[in-house]
């Protein structure tokens, strides 16, 4: 069953494009920094136009923008993906507990979820980030602390609906322990949703992290995309007309998030049966297909 899921994933243009974009960024992030040993080095006069020698030109301080973008990719993506993972993990655990056990536990946990959802994220992040010593792990902590509730809500509703299924009750009656029921019976059925939440959480993590670093609340000594933008704006980049110091980084951030969103589209289109069947009819009978009209009549379809 999941083999067809896999090649359907590839056949879906959106998902395929998304995977290519994300994979290429991961490769760049993993391999790239090896070529530039110290991206912080002052190698040339500041604010040089992009040239053959410096693909993206130099920053206000004479550092090579291309090297910094590559080096920045590694830490930004690392924090983005690991935060995304932690956010979904926490959301899944809280969602499963409250969805599965119901009654008192559910009321208590969903109250907590509601509280976290209602609290405005950025002001809290700004205060916490100013309190924790700057660095990637405090940013991760802040993002997980303020970001898990949304996923918890989504996953809880899915667990609630799966909880009523007969095979879950059957497993309980045969004597399976609660944790085993959740892990073996409920979670495998939720894989597409968990996958989509992970991708959504990663996009959130990357965006929020860059936002925090941009405000100078990250560890400005580290080279990350957020910090690159922070330094660019500190040197009043555009005021000096040097767009190359921050446009490439902005584009990279956008491309990664866009790639991830495309994958989410792909998952959605694959797992939505109705869209699939309509697409089949459209591809087989393009002129007769009427999406909201009546059933097509194709008398000579197979020359029967």
């Amino acid at each position: 069953m999941n083999r067809s899921w896999y090649n359907r994933m590839w056949s879906n243009t959106k998902a395929c494009l998304g995977i290519i974009i994300v994979i290429s960024f991961i490769i760049i992030a993993a391999v790239g920094p090896i070529f530039f040993e110290d991206s912080n080095a002052y190698i040339d006069t500041p604010l040089l136009e992009p040239s053959y020698e410096h693909l993206f030109g130099t920053t206000g301080q004479g550092q090579d923008v291309f090297a910094q973008t590559i080096a920045g990719a590694r830490s930004t993506l690392f924090i983005g993906f690991s935060t995304g993972f932690l956010v979904v993990l926490l959301g899944l655990i809280v969602g499963s507990l409250s969805g599965y056990f119901g009654k008192r536990i559910d009321n208590a946990l969903s109250l907590i979820i509601n509280i976290f959802l209602l609290m405005p994220g950025l002001p809290l992040m700004v205060i916490i980030a100013a309190w924790l010593p700057p660095g990637p792990f405090s940013i991760m902590g802040v993002l997980v602390f303020t970001g898990w509730a949304w996923n918890a809500r989504v996953l809880r509703s899915q667990v609630l609906s799966l909880r009523e299924r007969d095979y879950v009750n059957a497993a309980i009656i045969t004597g399976e322990s609660n944790t085993k029921v959740i892990i073996y019976q409920i979670w495998p059925q939720m894989l597409p949703l968990i996958m989509a939440s992970f991708i959504g959480a990663t996009v959130y993590a990357i965006g929020a992290q860059v936002g925090l670093e941009f405000l100078g609340l990250g560890d400005v000594d580290k080279v990350t995309w957020g910090n690159n933008l922070y330094w660019a704006t500190n040197d009043l980049a555009l005021l000096t007309g040097s767009w190359w110091t921050f446009v490439p980084t902005g584009l990279c951030i956008a491309l990664v998030s866009f790639g991830l969103t495309l994958i989410n589209y792909g998952i959605d289109e694959i797992s939505n049966p109705r869209l699939l069947s309509e697409r089949i009819v459209k591809s087989r009978l393009p002129d007769l297909f009427n999406r909201n009209g009546s059933t097509p009549v194709a008398k000579d379809l197979f020359g029967k």
Binding site: Q61, G216, V220, N234, L236, A237, L238, G241
Partner: protein, 551 residues
């Protein structure tokens, strides 16, 4: 009075305009001299010059109200203002001030010594107002006659003169009836200064008009001052570049390219270096830093040229060996010295380290006698990007001599408490300011100021104490004879250079920009009658009375 917090606000967001700045229709046209000194999202109506925390609007304490005398850092002398003359008695423990006559408050009431008496007694009554802690060495104050005031000292403390003459004077007939002056926002101020009339006050802009009864006839020549609210340094910079601001005190990176080239004959700036230096503080209580030779090796290995060029955009120069900037060059004793640790000399640094039996491990990183590697952390305020860049350059320089130094940024509160409690290896910070180097050297080396690590110490964060310096300070505080003062300073200077308690990096400039399309007679390098920057209060009052509209 409040030096803007350039570094914090400067961090916020860069703004941009294209090379040829089109005369965009969004240019706000203000009438009156536009000053960009404070950076606030919206204006709060508060003109109380004595407010602790200095949240009164600029130029309350040196524009609406006036101090007794103004110290001109460019000329290095006191300019008599509300007080005409000052005299010490023989034992330097009684000070007499002669108060200027025919001065009146902006509501017409006469100004006299009674107001001065009232102001100083108000400071005594409300300690929160006594920000310069005068009453720690003052005993009493009395009127000899209507225009002569006598200050009696409890202990001889000649440097107290700076604090006394720098005190802003408030009208007795208004303030005596205010029951809680601390929380008094003084919405409609009555002062002796050149500008006292509040013409317009809104959230986004306020205007300050001329004082009808100003004591200097014919001054000020500019009708009124206008203050639009620029919340971020970026917005202020844009307005300046767009020609909407006449006088500003912003830090602007690559200022020639962004500001001057826009309108070369009208856009000017002048960054005089009249203050002290920015220092790299080694924590002398820690291993390695307790040895002055090691400190000198570190100083030799630092490339100050690169720091000023890259981190400070060439706005300043590497620090002098005396740690005094040009503005204080008259206090530099130029004589042949054996130490030249302020010059970048990596070989000298390595030879010193050799002589101290440090050796190099295989990974060419330095190891001490019992050969474990040396790790330091340079702490600096997150958001103060010019200092952060300086720290990054220093960490790279130290790595070249085998010392592994990493840069750690902290939010201001966290950084400052680590600094004060001595919980750091290396730190970049400012030094104590004053009219003479006495404050600087005392702050760096006075034994009395050394506090054990863990306890908050307001000065001497690097915990270096030298007993000789303390008796020099004692003698300095006792004398008002200028030549004796000079010798004491020179002795302190020698001890500083010999022991290098803290490593000076570069001179601290003061930021000042102006636009001569509508107003002129700003001070600059050819006519340095005062420091240009509006941030330098009360000296900015000297400029306020000199500016004039272009004919």
């Amino acid at each position: 009075m409040k030096l803007i917090f350039k570094h914090i606000l400067y961090v916020i967001i860069g703004i941009f305009s294209f090379q040829q700045c089109t005369d965009s229709t969004t240019k706000e046209t203000y009438n009156g001299l536009v000053v960009s000194q404070e950076q606030r999202a919206s204006w709060i109506r508060n003109f109380n010059p004595l407010t602790p925390g200095g949240s009164a609007r600029w130029p309350t304490s040196a524009g609406i109200y006036e101090p007794l005398m103004i110290y001109n850092s460019m000329k290095g002398e006191y300019v008599p203002w509300l007080a005409v003359k000052h005299e010490w008695n023989m034992r330097n423990d009684v000070l007499k001030l002669v108060i200027r006559q025919d001065v009146s408050w902006s509501d017409g009431a006469p100004f006299s010594g009674k107001d001065v008496l009232f102001t100083f007694n108000l400071l005594k009554k409300i300690p929160a107002f006594d920000v310069r802690a005068l009453w720690t060495y003052l005993e009493s104050i009395k009127l000899l006659n209507e225009y002569e005031v006598e200050f009696k000292f409890s202990s001889i403390y000649v440097p107290g003169l700076d604090a006394i003459v720098g005190q802003t004077i408030v009208p007795e007939h208004i303030w005596s009836i205010i029951e809680d002056p601390v929380k008094f926002t003084n919405p409609n101020p009555v002062g002796t200064g050149p500008y006292t009339e509040i013409l317009k006050f809104q959230k986004q802009v306020w205007e300050l008009g001329k004082n009808p009864n100003y004591w200097q006839s014919g001054k000020p020549k500019v009708e009124k001052l206008t203050f639009p609210a620029f919340p971020t340094n970026v917005q202020a910079t844009y307005a300046l570049i767009n020609g909407e601001v006449d006088w500003a005190g912003n830090f602007i990176p690559a200022i020639d390219r962004i500001f001057v080239d826009k309108n070369p004959d009208k856009h000017h700036y002048w960054f005089p270096r009249a203050g002290g230096s920015i220092f790299l503080y080694p924590n002398t209580t820690k291993k390695h830093f307790d040895n002055k030779a090691f400190r000198k090796a570190i100083s030799y290995s630092i490339d100050r040229e690169l720091i000023t060029k890259v981190a400070m955009y060439d706005y300043t120069v590497p620090a002098d060996i005396t740690a005094l900037s040009e503005g204080m060059s008259r206090w530099r004793e130029n004589k042949k010295r054996k130490d030249s640790w302020n010059i970048f000399n990596r070989e000298e640094a390595l030879s010193i380290l050799d002589s101290l039996e440090y050796s190099f491990s295989n990974k060419n990183s330095l190891t001490d006698k019992d050969n474990n590697e040396i790790f330091f952390e340079i702490i600096v305020v997150s958001g103060w990007s010019d200092w952060i860049r300086a720290a990054q350059i220093i960490s790279r320089n130290l790595r070249d001599v085998g010392i592994n130094a990493s840069v750690r940024t902290y939010d201001f509160g966290a950084w400052f408490s680590k600094l004060q409690t001595g919980d750091f290896d290396l730190a970049i910070a400012w030094a104590e300011k004053g009219n003479t180097p006495y404050n600087l050297y005392r702050g760096l080396m006075s034994q009395k100021l050394v506090k054990p690590t863990g306890e908050i110490s307001v000065l001497n964060w690097h915990r270096y104490g030298n007993a000789v310096i303390d008796d020099l300070c004692q003698r300095y505080e006792k004398t008002s004879n200028q030549s004796v003062i000079k010798d004491i300073i020179f002795d302190m200077q020698d001890i500083f250079i010999e022991n290098l308690p803290a490593i000076p990096l570069f001179a601290e400039p003061s930021w000042g920009e102006y636009n001569t399309s509508r107003f002129t007679n700003f001070p600059d390098e050819h006519n340095p009658y005062a420091q240009l920057s509006p941030n330098n209060v009360p000296e900015s009052l000297l400029i306020l009375v000199e500016l004039e509209p272009v004919k």
